[in-house]
Amino acid sequence: MKILAIETSCDDTCAAVLDNDRVLSSVVSTQVEFHKKFGGVVPGIARDKHKEFIDPCIEKALKQAKVTMEKIDYIAVTYGPGLAIALEVGLKKAQALSLEYKKKLIPVNHLEGHALSPFLKDKNGKLYSKVKLNFPFISMIISGGHTELVLVSDFGKYELIGQTLDDAAGEAFDKVARLLKLGYPGGPLISKVAETGDRNKYLLPKPMLKSADFNFSFSGVKTACLVALRKIYAEKNINSNEKLILTQNDPGYYDSKDMVFTKKEIADFAASFEKTMVDILVTKLLAATKKYGVKYVSIGGGVCANNYLRKTMREAFSKKGVIVSIPDKRFCTDNAGMIGIVGYYKGLRKEFSKDPSKVERDPILNFKSG
């Protein structure tokens, strides 16, 4: 079964060709661009970039896979969740190709892609993740827009067991980077500067760590960061122990946008924050494996590219005898390979869209809770 997969849910334009569960090619526009996200965060621009890259991406994916459009059996495409006007570009392209070449269309949930990415194989049939997962397992999807814990009991059988109640994990990285004046996107930069920092320098709270459910709240971590940074800044700039947080019109008030920090403060803060985030994620995931009695876990989403998280996860889970599958970095961030593998398993179950022209984007699509 040959599948052409298309993914445009955020700011990466992606196309891939699979032969069953084997990736023949996987192209991401940002890989081939020197300047990664040059302004690509703005919705209108994200859409324009997708429109610009979608054809060369698909062309390149087909060429690398040495497959022509005629030989493709199914077209798999992300229809949600994501940026509405970005999703639209990929979906319209897939619909047009489906019509032109008379191919069946398989609409794919982006999150299901992350959940099944541990099953991706290279063209020789070797698992990219090197670890064979067995059902049931728990998939933790963490990215700029997502924080989801999903119980996967079989292909196509998912139950949402936990999610964020406010900010996504990657969003917390971006927002704390914003507080540290690191620009956008700040997540990757936080990890970079954290490497040299002292992870125990600043103690930050871990909201909901002991709650009975598996939900997260990262907005609280962000607010705690702001409060801590205010104190650090005020201690440097105010001699007396006067009240640190006042309203805008009071003297001595620092709007967070006016506070700047030294390289050392940034490194220590980033390291402490990163440790706090990773502790929360690992603790919750461990608790979930215990409650559901599963022996396997996997992670997916952009935040999984974080080296400190990968290392901490490996150590924490091997101690507990839980097998953890951490995908190759290029299948952590958005890619079309993972959309293709969902397409493959849906193809096996004959789950096609009856009328491809009627498929609509769903920006806030999610799994059902149990």
Partner: protein
């Protein structure tokens, strides 16, 4: 095309490079990340030549390399975020995006008037820039979509003779260490124009203090009931201002609760807008975070027009970014402006009023 080996030959290489740059030619030069392509970014003919070499698609912008912050400030406006990044992280493998001053040739800055700037941490380049007294372009020496070049062989592996002929001079420093391309950081999103007092005059201005997240939520619930009771036949906008961590999302959770929305109301930052169906008093509840919009007009790009229909409630976080658009809607909408401040770790001041 001429190739100069850099080793023990730095001053000659610099002089030759400057001659080429002054004549509008293209040089290939080493940096701490990879080989770059340099032309004078203020020379239109040179930039056009560079674009034809790179086979750029459409209007992909080109970064520039400068010797120091002072040179950067001739070409871009540095805000606080940028200034701090320059101070702490440059020179180094970072490209910092700022608002452009429009002093470069067409095709260099982005179509939204931003400019990427680098200060390479590579002695030869610093000396070259100082002596040249102007920036040079800092794009990698590969053709668009091809692999990052770490040696002269890498550059030529994917280049046609016609393209090779466009290069005037190569400064060859051998095989460079395989460092990642520079990290691109956009600082322009931090240019939020906070409304000054007097910009917007609020009627029936109120001020409350909440002492916990729970109290902020309850404030949201009461506000929603208040709005429901007005029974207005036009769209309602709740324009929220307040920095990170002031409880904007908590307030929205409260609003949603009074509207009878059962779904968890989570941050809309990533998708810009989240839409919820309301059963009784309204049709739809839209929850937007427009922090990532650079120009207010982009509000229309995310479907704002469709949202502006009767019996819809639209909450906009970082509303100051689109204050003009909201003001221009005039009497066609009912607007409540809300400013949120920190008073202490748990206390928040909420000022609100109708516009």
């Amino acid at each position: 095309m001429k190739i100069i080996k850099l080793k023990n030959n730095s001053s000659k290489a610099i002089n030759e490079a400057i001659l080429v740059l002054q004549k509008g030619g293209i040089i290939v030069y080493p940096t701490e990340t990879c080989y770059g392509l340099g032309v004078d970014p203020t020379n239109q003919a040179a930039v056009n030549k560079l674009i034809s070499y790179k086979t750029f698609r459409n209007d992909k912008p080109i970064s520039i390399a400068v010797s120091d912050k002072k040179m950067a400030e001739k070409y871009v406006t540095l805000n606080n975020t940028a200034k701090n990044l320059y101070k702490e992280y440059l020179p180094g493998p970072f490209t910092i995006i700022s608002k452009s001053k429009g002093k470069v040739a067409l095709g260099v800055e982005s179509n939204i008037k931003t400019q990427g700037v680098r200060i390479p941490k590579y002695g030869f380049v610093t000396n070259l820039l100082k002596k040249f007294g102007k920036p040079i372009t800092a794009t990698s020496a590969n053709i668009s979509y091809k692999k990052t070049p770490y040696s002269v062989e890498d550059i030529f592996a994917n280049t046609s003779q016609k393209q090779k002929d466009l290069i005037d001079l190569i400064i060859d420093a051998g095989v460079l260490p395989k460092n990642d391309p520079s990290t691109v950081i956009d600082t322009t999103l931090d240019d939020v124009n906070v409304l000054r007092q007097g910009d917007i005059i609020l009627h029936h201005k109120h001020k409350v203090v909440t002492r916990s997240e729970e109290e902020t939520r309850v404030f949201g619930e009461k506000l929603a009931i208040n709005l429901i009771n007005k029974k207005l036949d036009k769209p309602i906008i709740v324009a929220l201002q307040g920095e990170l961590g002031t409880g904007k999302t908590q307030l929205c959770k409260g609003l949603a609760k009074s509207l009878g929305i059962k779904q968890e109301v989570v941050s809309p930052t990533f998708v810009i807008c989240r839409e919820y169906i309301v059963k009784n008093d309204f049709n739809k509840f839209f929850h937007m975070d427009i922090y990532k919009l650079i120009e207010p007009e982009e509000l229309w790009e995310v479907g704002f027009k469709e949202m502006l229909s009767d019996r819809n409630l639209i909450v906009i976080e970082w509303a100051e970014k689109a204050s003009k658009i909201i003001k221009d809607l005039g009497e066609t909408v009912f607007v409540v402006w809300i400013n949120m401040y920190h008073k202490s770790e748990n206390e928040r001041i909420i000022e609100y009023g109708e516009y």
